[in-house]
């Protein structure tokens, strides 16, 4: 298992598939306590990222690059492209938040491969970016409630396992964290306008975070094409 730029690219492509597959579910969650666009926002954003990845790949293939003399491909490059593309295509609250998350993550992943500690650093940086921009704390019923347990779980797993274990732990914790937003009353984001009425519904951004981290795990299972 190598967590290199190919893995990162597979991660992002699988995320694009996942949000497209689950778009209606995300939309419905956001319809219940927000404005019903979260699915659409992410589908639009990740579709744009995939288009850029395709274009870059076509360029590389066309130029005959990618051979032995090609410059090294860095994980952080994929994440940075993802960041800037999400920022300029998603809109809404989640655009700047995911955009900032990937931008910060890119900053600590400027390597050809990343190890277990790299994974932890990447997730920590992403969460820091989200809280720096959105000012939400755990328990406010936002994506922070999926990212926070994910980072903690990755840290714990990193003590005993490899990078795949860390990612798997993060994804499982994000999933549980998202489910755990159901009873919460939102105090950040659109859902906060509903006050008590926001309880009893899962936060859409927490759910999309769980999808994103699950895609990172799925991307482990495949070797580059």
């Amino acid at each position: 298992m190598t967590l290199d730029a190919d893995w990162a690219e597979r991660w992002i492509r699988r995320t694009a598939d996942a949000v497209a597959d689950r778009r209606d579910e995300l939309t419905e969650l956001d319809r219940e306590i927000g404005d019903g666009d979260h699915g659409e926002n992410l589908v639009r954003g990740f579709r744009a990222v995939v288009a850029k990845l395709d274009a870059r790949r076509a360029e590389v293939d066309g130029s005959g690059a990618g051979g032995p003399e090609a410059p090294p491909r860095l994980v952080g490059d994929v994440l940075k492209l993802t960041a800037t593309t999400l920022m300029s295509t998603v809109g809404g609250a989640s655009g700047p938040l995911y955009g900032t998350a990937f931008l910060r993550a890119a900053k600590v992943t400027g390597h050809e491969t990343i190890d277990t500690r790299g994974i932890v650093a990447m997730l920590e940086s992403a969460l820091d970016g989200i809280t720096a921009r959105g000012k939400a704390e755990p328990g406010e019923k936002t994506m922070v409630d999926a990212w926070t347990p994910a980072v903690e779980a990755a840290e714990r797993a990193a003590g005993e396992g490899d990078e795949a274990d860390a990612l798997r732990a993060a994804a499982a914790a994000a999933d549980a964290g998202s489910t755990a937003t159901i009873p919460l009353v939102a105090t950040k984001g659109r859902a906060s306008y509903l006050g008590e009425r926001s309880a009893g519904h899962e936060d859409p951004g927490a759910r999309s975070t769980a999808l994103l981290l699950a895609a990172a795990v799925d991307a482990l299972g495949e070797e580059p094409a």
Binding site: T27, R31, G34, D35, G36, D37, E40, N41, R44, M87, S88, T89, V90, G91, G92, A93, S94, G95, P96, L97, G99, R133, G134, T187, K188, G189, R190, S192, Y193, L194, G195, R197
Partner: protein, 331 residues
């Protein structure tokens, strides 16, 4: 879902294309990224005004681009904040050398995306001030929410700041005036029906035929509470009282009363609400010195209305009365 649209994915682009053709004397529409500017571009020496937000609130904001109001507007996807790559060129296009005021409705998405764009514009050397409009009294302004939303009062901010910029105010003046409006304008709204976002295809919430949503925003989100449908006079009181109370209006004060339709409300109903709101204000000893009735800050085809009150002083009154020439507001 039935709408007068083509591919729902292109709803915003198709609509802007028609808008550009219909108002070619006033506006220019730019694509990839999307933003709308006043014909003729920035006025040298005038403070530029830029606003923006999700689409679906038309005529806000594109319909307010023109003389005496906005220099540029940035429409996002339906009910979705625009992205920094659209906001940034709008900020630059509005910049006539005297700086730019960004008027942002208080939604996490709008605030974050404008913040990003303003950071980028400042990095390019632009001088940008921001006011955040948060007139919606339905939401508690506390640490338990993302703060009050910006709704119909945004029109008042854009009109009055636009007049101040037109009259030669510098960036500090225009920002002060805009903030002064923000501090004195309050709104509360009601939904009679939900609305349907084109690419979603179903109603934004399910509202039984005998219920109203009180305290809605402008994104088809449910309100603060659901009440049994009651006559317009009672509904109006549920909207006006919190607005007037929050403003702490005293007898003898003068206000602007703005009754706004949510997009699908017949004008005749808006006047019923207006008449009642006005009588309630008069019962408080408040003078309605200026009025506006119409569908200006909408939620697609939603039926419903909001009541906005702006406390007036001589300065605000004169700026409100100053000429304006945009697609949707003109005098």
């Amino acid at each position: 879902m039935k709408k007068l649209l083509n591919d729902p994915e292109n709803a915003v682009a198709d609509s802007l294309a028609g808008f550009a053709l219909a108002h070619a004397d006033l506006v220019q529409v730019h694509h990839d990224p999307t933003y709308v500017t006043r014909v003729g571009g920035a006025t040298t020496g005038k403070v530029g005004l830029v606003s923006g937000g999700g689409s679906g609130h038309e005529p806000l904001h594109t319909g307010f681009v023109g003389d005496g109001m906005l220099d540029a507007a940035v429409p996002g996807a339906v009910f979705t904040s625009p992205t920094p790559d659209g906001i940034l060129p709008a900020l630059h296009a509005a910049d006539g050398g005297a700086g730019v005021l960004a008027i942002v409705k208080n939604y996490t998405g709008d605030v974050l995306n404008f913040d990003l764009a303003v950071e980028l514009a400042e990095a390019d050397g632009a001088r940008v001030a921001t006011v955040v409009v948060n007139d919606d009294v339905a939401v508690e302004n506390s640490t338990y929410t993302a703060g009050r939303r910006g709704v119909a009062g945004t029109l008042c901010v854009e009109k009055i700041a636009g007049a101040a910029a037109m009259q030669g105010g510098d960036l500090d003046d225009v920002t002060r005036i805009a903030q002064h409006v923000v501090d004195n304008v309050r709104t509360m709204g009601v939904a009679v029906t939900a609305c349907t976002v084109p690419h979603v295809g179903g109603p934004s919430f399910d509202l039984p035929d005998d219920q109203l949503e009180i305290g809605i925003g402008i994104h088809g989100e449910p309100g603060r509470r659901r009440v049994k449908a009651v006559p317009a006079d009672e509904v109006t009181q549920m909207l006006l009282d919190p607005v007037a109370d929050d403003l702490e209006l005293s007898p003898g004060e003068r206000v602007l009363l703005f009754v706004n339709g949510m997009g699908g409300t017949p004008a005749s109903e808006l006047y019923v609400v207006y008449g009642r709101a006005r009588r309630l204000l008069e019962q408080r000893g408040v003078t309605v010195a200026r009025s506006l009735v119409g569908s200006y800050v909408t939620s697609l085809e939603m039926q419903g209305a909001s009541v906005t009150v702006l406390r007036l002083d001589d300065e605000l009154e004169a700026l409100w009365d100053a000429p304006v020439h945009t697609a949707a507001l003109r005098w």
